[in-house]
Chain length 114, copies 2
């Protein structure tokens, strides 16, 4: 039997799912330097307006960003910088993989003749 309840695992999976889309990561990256309104996010990411709006809703519902209406425009900002720790960890993993691939290629040096 699994010690971890399915419901908890499901929540973790759902969280990862939010972070598993390129467009949403682009939006988050554009917010890394601070709060921005939707228009600024659209400009910085190059994504469509309806698309950005949809992704911002998903990010908001996940509790990753916070919505702050301000006059005509709406500002969004990251609520929990944990995302960047997550990305950092993943990048470390990817770097290690690249190093291993690189070393695997080096060990083929003897075949360089062709």
């Amino acid at each position: 039997m699994s010690k971890i309840p399915i419901s908890a695992l499901t929540q973790v999976a759902d969280y990862f799912k939010v972070l598993s889309e390129l467009s949403r990561l682009q939006v988050l990256c554009s917010l890394k330097t601070g709060a921005k309104n939707v228009t600024e996010i659209i400009e910085e990411t190059g994504l469509g307006q309806a698309n950005v709006s949809k992704h911002l809703k998903i990010l908001t519902q996940a509790g990753i960003v916070k919505r702050q209406p301000q006059g005509v425009s709406v500002y969004y900002q990251i609520t929990d910088p944990i995302i960047f720790d997550l990305c950092e960890l993943v990048c470390q993993h990817l770097e290690i993989q690249l190093q291993e691939q690189s070393q695997a290629l080096k060990s083929l040096d003897g075949l360089r003749q062709l």
Copy 2:
């Protein structure tokens, strides 16, 4: 302009995508205590054989688990325990959210009359 190249972000998104499925997290959890063969994983997770096989392939291609044939059976084990750090971080985030929701409910105590 975005400082982080799209290609790098895409790889990060792809990595999160691998972790964004309940079944795959179940498989990873079953491997947390050490290497297991496919039959054992099937028993522990309750997932279908073809399904587990498919998920193991995805996890292997992502470099998250390692495949080790041994006689008739094939053993899988986690190559990089970084996944559990990732899950730990996500759980922290989820806990914080629950605490905040809990406090929000407490602040409604005055309405308890009904």
